[in-house]
Amino acid sequence: MLGIIKQKVGARGLTAPVFGDYMQKLSPVASAMRDFSSATKKMTVRDALNSALDEEMAADSNVFVMGEEVGEYQGAYKITKGLLDKYGPDRVVDTPITEAGFTGIGVGAAYHGLKPVIEFMTFNFSMQAIDHIINSAAKSNYMSGGKINVPIVFRGPNGAAAGVGAQHSQCYGAWYGAIPGLKVLVPYSSEDARGLLKAAIRDPDPVVFLENEILYGDSFPVSQEVLDPNFCLPIGKAKIERQGKDVTITAYSKMVGFALKAAEILEKDGINAEVINLRSIRPLDRDTINDSVRKTNRLVTVEEGFRQHGVGAEICASVVEDSFNYLDAPVERIAGADVPTPYTANLERLAFPQIEDIVRATKRACYRSG
């Protein structure tokens, strides 16, 4: 079962210090580098996140980091490495395993003008604290008539990890994406990670920042502009990661890499796919998506999360609502299977989108119109 992915995907070890060893992951594909023709340097997503935190902490003394193992242990995934030494225990706060408590404390601190960056060891554990994220953080500005804004970031790895089973491996993009008052960001590359995390920390509203463990060790080229401490990406703007004319593929986080890889394969079959990296699930960049579909007339959505009430469902609805007359084929949705994540490797592989699923669905979208 794993044969296909092994052929197409570079195998490389990831140094995830506490959470499992993940053997497979996607190398950044050639097309991802097009935008970085002037790039001189490569940077891992881990370093991109770490440097963004570091710079924002240096720039604003109200920014502090809080969570489990963020300080002395240097982060369960080493995202906060070095920060305790540099900023001390007042600003890099190790907590007990008490998500509801420290999330509430973070939100309270944000009410009073601090800018907490709350790390969930993984977003699975944010379920312990989801009440504070939604009821205490997302709604306060509205309930107070604009008097209490909540400048907080909730960040950590989200989505499918390798071999960790049902309770540790799922995507919460659609869950948080449903909530007005939250902003939900989903970085793919190192550029995304740096630009979006800095934007999230500077933003006056609560931001849910969904990282991906399997991407942490991946290196991407970064330009001088991206490395500049003032670099910041706009919240709510998607990025056309690859230009194309025949079909639009939307994806976020790790699935952007899969979509780019699929696009390379499709190119050989004469299909020129446009790949949109959503970067933000809420706000959703409906303009960029609809503009692209009006050009290509075909749409494939890709996500690791569940199909029912998923991100793809919302994108599909948006296109049907706004660009119905432009569609030349039924929209295709590639998504996580309707099952809790199984442990064993062959079933786990079937539970999440693979590159060949994207290729197959895209071909259908292209040939279906006749």
């Binding site: 079962m1 995830a16 210090p17 506490v18 959470f19 499992g20 060893d21 053997m23 489990e68 193992e69 002395e72 242990y73 369960a76 190790d94 907590t95 007990p96 395993i97 008490t98 509801a100 408590g101 699975n124 554990f125 379920m127 312990q128 990890a161 390798a162 071999g163 960790v164 089973g165 049902a166 309770q167 540790h168 199909r307 295709e332 949705r333 590639i334 998504a335 996580g336 299977a337 309707d338 099952v339 809790p340 199984p342 442990y343 064993t344 490797a345 062959n346 079933l347 079937l350 539970a351 999440f352 989108p353 693979q354 699923d357 197959r360 669905a361 259908r364």
Partner: protein, 393 residues
Amino acid sequence: MALARRSSNLLKPLSTASSSSFLNRRPFSTDDSTTITIETSVPFTGHNCEPPSRSIDTTPKELMTFFTDMALMRRMEIAADSLYKSKLIRGFCHLYDGQEAVSIGMEAAITKKDCIITAYRDHCIFLGRGGTLLESFAELMGRQAGCSRGKGGSMHFYKKDACFFGGHGIVGAQVPLGCGLAFAQKYRKEDHVTFTMYGDGAANQGQLFEALNMAALWDLPAILVCENNHYGMGTAEWRAAKSPAYYKRGDYVPGLKVDGMDAFAVKQACKFAKEHALKNGPIILEMDTYRYHGHSMSDPGSTYRTRDEISGVRQERDPIERIRKLILAHDIATEKELKDIEKLARKEVDEAIAKAKESPMPDDSELFTNVYRKGYGVESFGADRKEVRATLP
């Protein structure tokens, strides 16, 4: 600091009844009529309760069983470590070596109608409940013969027929669940109790206190077993808990501090707790124990504690060595016989692994089984709905 060193006051046989006869009764392992009275390593410390006596009766048979079972558990975990390193086990794998006496002592005090629920460090708890090595290794390797048919993995072992309810990955979440098991036991007027196991890290989770309050209000037969191995991942207990005296953390709920490296102390405490819980409701048992391995496989376990600390515990408090010394002191078996038992454990483990490897991975069609008990024929989809779809059974 985090860990008080014990003096090596390990073995203090108090008295040996009919000591002349049990030598004649070999083979030792079946002698359950000779009574040996031993003393627990340290006294129990009680909170809101009068602690049980330090002296406890045992038999040569029980001593041999403790030794054999713990040797098997230890061997299983060591083998899991190497299977992980050879990439036959994936994801997380939390090992129990060092903590075996907690499972062994607890099982010796209770029946399989008493319930147990625990967190992700569950392999040996499963074995203690009567699970097999084959089911364990097959699950770890994601095979069909696994106790969860390869779907659960290391963190999600279960054995419902022996009232073992998992195997939980969300720190602390198993504590209310355990109180729920106790609720059902009381509701149905059973004479059984539930042992809910959690770590020192989990001991700080809020939901534990919510559930404990209700358990106390309603006199549920719930025994909260805090396995204090002194670290939650890389965090020493005192960095996470204002009061690391976990047996006192129930306030109005009684508690007992127990040497969790001494299977007999654990047995005595669990017997005491079961009687208490059936009469009076919840009680907390804090088991002072230690994990030899890192938290999970990718944690070397040596950045936040010293190697001296680990080897010190191994030398002075190891649960298997304690029993070995007792057996030798009472001349129940020879060193060679005990070595042979360990060799046998190794052989059993190797055989189980070989067998587990013969078990196939689950068929692809298993992806959609077990989502519901009753699937109402609902259509379900794979990643590409036009490629993979199933009707739920």
